[in-house]
Amino acid sequence: MSIASKLKEAMVGLKAGRVTLDYPAQPRPAPANFRGRPIFDAQKCIGCAGCANNCPAREILVFDVCQEIRILKYLGRRCTYCGRCADVCPEKAITMSHDFETATNKIGDIQQRLDLFMSTCQRCGRCFKETSPLEQLKLKGYRFDDLANERWIFRSRAYLETEPVVDDIKIELD
């Protein structure tokens, strides 16, 4: 490399100026169609659990304490911000925000929990219309996701108190 080419390179560098962002000091908003963390609106939510049934990462847990109260818990650990929950929500209670600064030292910081009132259906107690008969069989009635261990439990298996449905996989280290 000759000195001339080095000088030319220096000139290019001087012409471009400073390109580095001053990010944590200056805010940098996300683009308009960016999907960030979903925000749940407890005032609009009717507790149909459509978001929980459609979440590909199974990050929304539903637990029925009793007939009147349903707990909906969004964990957000492995959420891919795909927006399917916001798409499927009939009441538009879920909005995909532009919030991406979710770095934290406790993973529980990103979770959202809704305690919802549920009305009682006079005919059958609780029923929600699903698309296919198989889905109706699977997801009718109460849901018992494991809130303590933050696990989604498939309804078609019986929930037995004596033996856990999902067991931790044992990790073999050396």
Partner: protein, 178 residues
């Protein structure tokens, strides 16, 4: 306390080791994007090193897999004592969307202790810089757990007492959501 300890221990420069234990490469690309002159994380003194023996910080991408869990643990053990682990991306934080499949053991924290989490799939380069700034102590974290409780039914119950005559029409007054 952890923040003070970090500032004291790590001073001005963090040397990072970049470990992918079975991710899809998306988070790797974002981490490399952070090291480019546009985002330029070297202004915080962060430098990428090739060996865990030289590193202060391990950046984990991808879930702990059946095949790589032992190697990840060995890399963690090889790092010298004041060490931080960042879990970057949804796989490292929570196991990814294939969390229940055969080769995936789960999040990285099942194998090694994790200090900072940066969720996202993949996280934006700004999100990674924000996580680093939280760890170094430049900014405060923004997220906190949220709990909502409905105090009354969202759909108002029908009460005939709320019917009001208005001219020729009879109007139900609390009909916001019906």
């Amino acid at each position: 306390m952890l923040k003070n300890l970090c500032q004291k221990m790590f001073g001005r420069s963090l040397w990072v080791y970049h470990a992918n234990s079975g991710g899809c490469n998306g988070c790797d690309i974002e981490v490399l994007n952070v090291l480019t002159p546009y985002y330029d994380v070297e202004r915080f003194g962060i430098k990428l090193v090739g060996s865990p023996r030289h590193a202060d910080v391990m950046l984990c991408q991808g879930p702990a897999m059946r095949a790589t869990a032992r190697a990840l643990r060995a890399a963690y053990d090889a790092m010298p004592a004041p060490k931080l682990v960042f879990a970057i991306g949804g796989c490292a934080c929570g196991g990814g969307i294939w969390h229940d499949s055969y080769p995936v053991l789960g999040p990285v924290e099942k194998v090694i202790p994790v200090n900072f989490y940066i969720p996202g799939c993949p996280p934006r380069p700004e999100a990674i810089i924000y996580g680093v700034a939280v760890a170094v102590g430049l900014v405060d974290k923004k997220v906190a757990p949220v709990e909502f409780k409905q105090l009354d039914l969202p759909i108002p119950r029908y009460h005939p007492a709320d019917l009001r005559g208005r001219g020729e029409m009879v109007v139900y007054e609390k009909a916001e959501k019906i």
